[in-house]
């Protein structure tokens, strides 16, 4: 009977030996008794029968010997059982690890770092880039953008949405959307300002998403002036309304108006523009209305669409181009360079970060490779010193395969240990990443350690183990001549090829390190340049916050203007406030709409010439002072620029240079395009440029109008004055200290209006470069790790070489070599693989860093300074790493060295 599997794998030999003995003894007894019974049936007496049977069986200690032979046989069988063999190898490996704790610690630590960082970045890549978007059949969902010269991605206007949707052979559905913010007053907690999305009835179908509770908007609800309804995201419904299942059909209050909740959407649902940062938790019907030609020139909608079945993106793009061509013929709103593009939604969401993440993944893989090379080198050194052990094993009959398997298992055990520690490290890194929210990655919510990550961790651990495990094995498949090894410790010939192999590893490590460090240097310089760009305003000591007086309470334009004017007056009276102003947008955190405008008295536009356009900002007095925008010419806004005064405007330098090159702009009169604000405004001043959208984009022509004079051409009752503004408050002391007093003031002024996004301007500026900073920091960390590992590797190999050549050095010293010469000799021996590696690495890096160009700001991919920094750092560190063992070589006592030979 075969023992159960676990017994065969793990049992201690004594138990099974006893069992085998017992069984053999039972078999012998059976034999003798049965024979005795046969003899008795032939007529012998019981005693005679037993005696005869025993005699026939064999004389002496035959039984004993049989039992022993049975035991030995079972042992031999066990030894042929490969599973047992592997278990023994693992036990042996673990014992070996315990016996050399420093070595084990070094290897495990190196592997844990390399594998752990790799797993962490892989999880990020997997979550951000590979997890599919929360839409049905996400590869069929696309985004549609207009493009104009200077504006590669521009919003659509209302009639364009219908025009593009008209070709049903290209798109199964087209849905426009916008977002806004709302003050929510019902539910648990204080009044809260949340992001909201305006979506048409068709959007859920385009996105392939269904409400968890309730229903989508109906067609009646999605018409202008339709009933006020809303949908909520599930996690917001839980947080604010206690997951009340009866909320369907119940009203909630937002912006002082009542909206009936009709549906709850899955928490993972997002509008395409909202995968990183804030996202809409409330959805209202878009109520687009019938196509209205009057709105053709006002572009404010984003669009997502679903491809028609069996249509490729290229085909959809072609059909869209046909629609655009038709539009251009029918209307003069479109110049010849206007067009529309279809982009797969995946590219839209992930495109910007893809390159950076792949770069990080490449860097961290380099670090892992260097770590492997180091561990391989360490194992090679250890394999040398185990020559005797291997010789003995071969002599007593272990096949070469057995020995190779044993070495591989030792490497795998080390790798598994390092991999397990690395997994823990990766978990910690990921937790830190998501909690600290260091960087605005899309789909951060999709990053976690799931089955795929574990599979990757297992695979990479295995590969790592094989990679460095093969190194000592490669040494072994040379001639393992037991006799030589047994004679004395090591043989010279064997060591030479071991040293060569380790030097090759060093060259590889240095090449990889050059690439990693060059990338790090490039990224860091790029970030430094970016961070030093002057944004055009002073960001210190400025507090910002958004708010919006609800139309229900402030229905007219004059009430909105009065609201802000009085609020600002009160704010200026607060102690610690140096100046206060409001604006329709704040740099580096919102976008401005652009408008065409016309210059009074300018020659009429030629055909095909573009109408002048400018980003438009509605500001109150005090805004320029708060941000310390420099005034170049003329004057800034004052409190006197009210409704009853002449309408004024300010422009920035870029606009002045672009459209008023040959004449002074101050005093000229302009008129904004569009049907809404048709006043003729006099330019009273020119202010400095602001990098509004991104620090790495040049400033755009901008026009500022006075908020107190906005929408003067529309009736007051329309309430069309810009309602949602951001306050910019310059403080004398620490801005954070004024947050509480300002909130108090706001509560006293109007308790139903919450303040949103309260941030200091310096935080906003830092946040705008956070991705670049994050990438630079990580690359520096990886580059530093690569540097350290490479230095350790160089140190270890040179120490080894010194130890190996100690006899030769002793001879040289005895023959009169001075210590300086010895040092130089050993340093040269240590440095030449370094130099080869550096050269190879520079060549590869020069070709390879081109892929980084898109991520770099004002730094070329082959920037020589970065290369120089990387090379010189590595050279210096390698020299240092070589110097210590070389010095030790010089202190070798020739007598001792020669005697040991």
């Amino acid at each position: 009977m075969r023992a159960p599997r676990y017994r065969r794998l793990f049992r201690l030999s004594t138990r099974s030996d006893e069992r085998v003995r017992e069984e053999m003894s039972e078999e012998i007894r059976f034999h003798v008794e049965t024979r005795a019974a046969q003899f008795r049936s032939e007529g012998m007496s019981e005693a005679e029968a037993l005696a005869e049977a025993t005699r026939r069986f064999g004389s002496g200690d035959v039984a004993q010997r049989l039992e022993t032979s049975a035991v030995r046989r079972s042992m031999r069988l066990r030894n042929h059982d490969w599973r047992h063999a592997i278990a023994m190898d693992v036990a042996f490996a673990l014992r070996g690890m315990r016996r050399a704790p420093m070595f084990t610690l070094a290897v495990l630590g190196t592997l844990a770092l390399g594998i752990g960082a790799n797993i962490a970045i892989f999880s990020v890549v997997r979550g951000v880039l590979m997890t599919s978007l929360p839409y049905g059949q996400p590869d069929r969902v696309v985004a549609i953008w207009n493009h104009w010269p200077g504006w590669p991605r521009a919003w659509l206007s209302q009639p364009e949405v219908y025009d593009y949707a008209s070709d049903s052979s290209a798109f199964a559905g087209v849905a426009a959307f916008t977002n806004a913010a709302l003050n929510v007053t019902s539910g648990e907690g204080d009044p809260e300002r949340v992001s909201a999305g305006f979506i048409p009835q068709s959007l859920l179908e385009v996105a392939g998403v269904r409400p968890l509770l309730g229903r989508n908007f109906s067609a009646a609800e999605d018409t202008p002036n339709g009933p006020r309804v809303a949908m909520l995201l599930e996690d917001y419904w839980r947080r604010r309304f206690g997951a009340d299942p009866g909320i369907i059909g119940k009203p909630i209050e937002m912006n002082k108006r009542s909206y009936v909740v009709v549906g709850i959407l899955p928490s993972a649902f997002r509008l395409p523009s909202e995968f990183s940062g804030d996202h809409a938790v409330v959805f209202l019907p878009l109520q687009l209305g019938a196509p209205d030609e009057a709105q053709r020139a006002s572009h404010g909608f984003s669009v997502m669409a679903r491809l028609a079945p069996d249509v490729t993106i290229a085909q959809a793009q072609q059909r869209l181009n046909a629609v655009v061509a038709r539009l251009k013929r029918a209307s003069d709103n479109y110049g010849p360079e206007f067009g529309a593009t279809v982009i797969p939604m995946s590219d839209e969401v992930r495109g910007p970060v893809r390159a950076a993440l792949y770069l990080l993944f490449g860097a961290v893989s380099f670090v892992l490779l260097i770590a492997c090379a180091n561990v391989a080198s360490l194992l090679l050194a250890r394999a040398e010193s185990r020559g005797r052990e291997i010789a003995i094993r071969t002599a007593i009959g272990a096949g070469r395969t057995r020995i190779i398997v044993q070495f591989l298992i030792e490497s795998l055990v080390l790798a598994v240990g390092g991999g397990a520690l690395g997994l823990l490290l990766a978990a910690a890194i990921l937790r830190g990443l998501t909690k600290l929210n260091l960087v605005n990655l899309p789909r951060l919510d999709a990053i976690h350690l799931d089955g795929g990550v574990f599979a990757y961790a297992a695979a990479i651990t295995l590969l790592t183990g094989l990679a460095f495990g093969l190194a000592p094995v490669a040494r072994l498949t040379g001639r393992v001549v037991p006799f030589e090894f047994l004679r004395q410790g090591q043989s010279q010939a064997g060591n030479r090829s071991g040293l060569r192999l380790r030097q090759t590893l060093i060259s590889i490590e240095l090449a990889l390190a050059v690439i990693a460090l060059t990338g790090a240097a490039l990224m860091t310089r790029s970030f430094a340049r970016l961070a030093s760009v002057s944004p055009g305003f002073a960001s210190d000591h400025v507090l910002t916050m958004w708010l919006s007086p609800p139309a229900a309470k402030y229905p007219t334009s004059s009430s909105v203007r009065a609201f802000y004017a009085q609020l600002l007056d009160r704010l200026r009276e607060l102690p610690g406030v140096a100046s206060a102003g409001a604006s329709s947008g704040i740099p580096l955190s919102s976008t401005l709409g652009d408008w065409g405008f016309s210059i009074d008295g300018a020659p009429p536009r030629r055909v095909n010439e573009h109408q002048p356009t400018a980003d438009w900002q509605s500001v109150t007095d005090g805004y320029f002072e708060s941000l310390r925008l420099p005034l170049i010419r003329g004057r800034a806004l004052t409190a006197a620029d009210r409704m009853d005064a002449a309408p004024v405007a300010l422009i920035n330098e870029t606009l002045a240079q672009l459209y008023f090159r040959d004449s002074s702009a101050v005093g000229r009169s302009v008129q904004l395009g569009g049907p809404m604000d048709t006043a003729h405004r006099t330019i009273v001043g020119i202010v400095g440029d602001v990098r509004f959208n991104r620090l790495d984009q040049p400033p755009r022509p901008t026009m500022y109008t006075s908020h107190a004079q906005s929408m003067s051409s529309l009736p007051d009752s329309a309430g069309a004055a810009p309602r949602t503004l951001v306050l910019a408050i310059r403080t004398q002391g620490d801005p954070a200290a004024l947050v509480a007093p300002i909130r108090e003031l706001m509560k006293a002024y109007d308790p139903d209006i919450p303040l949103a996004h309260v941030r200091t301007m310096s935080d906003i500026v830092d946040g705008s470069v956070s991705t670049s900073k994050f990438a630079a920091l990580l690359l520096l960390a990886f580059g530093g790790a690569a540097l350290m590992l490479a230095a350790l590797g160089v140190y270890a190999v040179t120490s080894f070489a010194v130890a190996q050549r100690s006899a030769e050095i002793g001879v040289r010293v005895a023959l009169g070599a001075r210590s300086a010469q010895v040092v130089r000799l050993m340093i040269w021996q240590g440095m030449w693989p370094v130099l080869i590696g550096l050269a190879a690495g520079v060549v590869v890096a020069a070709a390879g860093t081109r892929v980084m160009q898109g991520l770099l700001y004002s730094v070329g991919a082959t920037d020589p300074i970065s290369f120089a920094i990387a090379i010189s750092t590595l050279l210096a560190v390698s020299l240092l790493a070589n110097w210590r063992p070389a010095r030790r070589a010089a202190m070798v006592d020739p007598v001792v060295a020669l005697r040991a030979e």
């Binding site: 069984e23 078999e27 059976f30 024979r35 046969q38 064999g58 035959v62 039984a63 069988l77």
Partner: protein, 113 residues
């Protein structure tokens, strides 16, 4: 007692395998079969049989399993394996040829025939 022919080395294995080729047997059955079929002229020490069985089990020529006899006693049954059958076929052919050659030589009346 008839003369006991001492077995030439290695032939015990072949004989045991031949006996097992008709079905599994336990140790006593094998001994009985050998004695019966050879009319008692093959003298096999029982322990030698077990040594042979152990050898063959290690080489994979026989398989062993505990079973129950007709008297419901526990006994170790040996059966021939596929490898064992192949080995039996080749070895017995060789042995028979060897025996025939030796027999023919020893029976020759003159030096040449």
């Amino acid at each position: 007692m008839p003369d006991n022919l001492t077995l030439l080395k290695g032939t015990l294995d072949v004989l045991v395998l031949k006996g097992l080729s008709w079905g599994p047997m336990h140790g006593v059955e094998i001994t009985n079969w050998l004695e019966t079929r050879s009319d008692g002229s093959l003298a096999v020490e029982d322990s030698a049989l077990y040594h042979a069985l152990h050898r063959m089990e290690e080489r994979g020529l026989v398989l062993a399993e505990w079973g129950l006899t007709e008297n419901n006693r526990r006994a170790r049954y040996y059966s021939i394996s596929a490898v064992g059958r192949r080995w039996l076929a080749s070895e017995s052919a060789q042995l028979i040829k060897y025996a025939a050659t030796v027999t023919s030589l020893l029976r020759s009346r003159t030096r040449l025939a």
